[in-house]
Amino acid sequence: MKRNALLSSANLSWGTLALALAVLFLLVRLLAPNFFWYAFTPALRAGDALAQMSHTFLSSFDNAATLALQNEKLSQENAALTIENEALLEKTNSVSQLGANSQGITAGVVARPPESPYDTLVVAAGSEGGVTLGEEAFGEGNVPLGTVTSLLAHISRITLFSAPGASLLGWVGPTHVPLIIKGGGAGTLSASVPRSAGVTVNDVVSVPGPGSLPIATVVRIDSDPSSPSVTLRIQPSLNLFSVTWVVLRDTGITLQNAFSTTTTPTKP
């Protein structure tokens, strides 16, 4: 048997075999394409599935990076909100302490004129909130506004000092001239003082509270030459119909009621 030196196994390398195999596949594809694709379709499908799996696997790292960024951002936002929450809590505590010091009940105004009758306010605090009849209502700047004249469980009615027929004792001017302030209706006040008192326009009118509380200013003085007294037209410091919050506080009405109860003469 003859031996071909070119085809001897000693000269055949893996590269040569690979090249021969590749050429064989090429010939099969060219000569019998149907058979070729029939044979290779499962392998190519497996390759597609593998590529899809690897793509999904690599994409998961991208998602992890996105999630890490999002997590970091949320952590920063959470820290900021925690700080903000602590600040608000501290503020709330401060306000609560302030309210405790003022010993009053803060109530929102539910209705004001013209919703409510003139010179009255309806506020959202009642007997269940600790409000009692006769308590004074104070506006912004601790300005007295009126007194609680009607009471329900959760609602109170405050009659302003400017209501017709209402009167309260007070002072006017730097020398604290005593006077009786009378309500003139529609948010106006008036008072009558001796001409010799020397009251002038822009003098401050104050009422007793804890000390002396400014309530209004004199805006006009009506005088009649034949009368020994003058009439003061007084404008409240606050616009009584624009008040939104009031503080209800007992200024001694309970004590006065107690006194009146104990000093009422009893019939034999």
Partner: protein
């Protein structure tokens, strides 16, 4: 034997694995078997060549270039034990 194994893996990689891995394997094997890049190029074109995309069988051409370079490198390595 290892050369044969890596050559077989290069063929399988052409079908199953991403092309960068196939290129890496082929270039590695080409240090020992310079004809493998050409064989892999022909095999890749057998699988993936479509006349609509391009006229030239690029994989075969790239494989041929790699094979020529591999032959050139081997010829320069006179004292090498690679060819033994």
């Amino acid at each position: 034997m290892m050369r044969g194994l890596f050559t077989l893996i290069a063929f399988i990689s052409t079908v199953l694995f991403p092309w960068p891995l196939t290129v890496l394997l082929t270039l590695g094997v080409s240090l020992y078997e310079p004809l493998v890049p050409l064989a892999i190029g022909i095999f890749a074109d057998t699988l993936y060549y479509t006349p609509q995309v391009g006229v030239l069988p690029l994989f075969t051409i790239y494989g041929l270039i790699a094979a020529v370079i591999a032959f050139f490198v081997r010829s320069r390595l006179k004292t090498s034990i690679i060819g033994r």
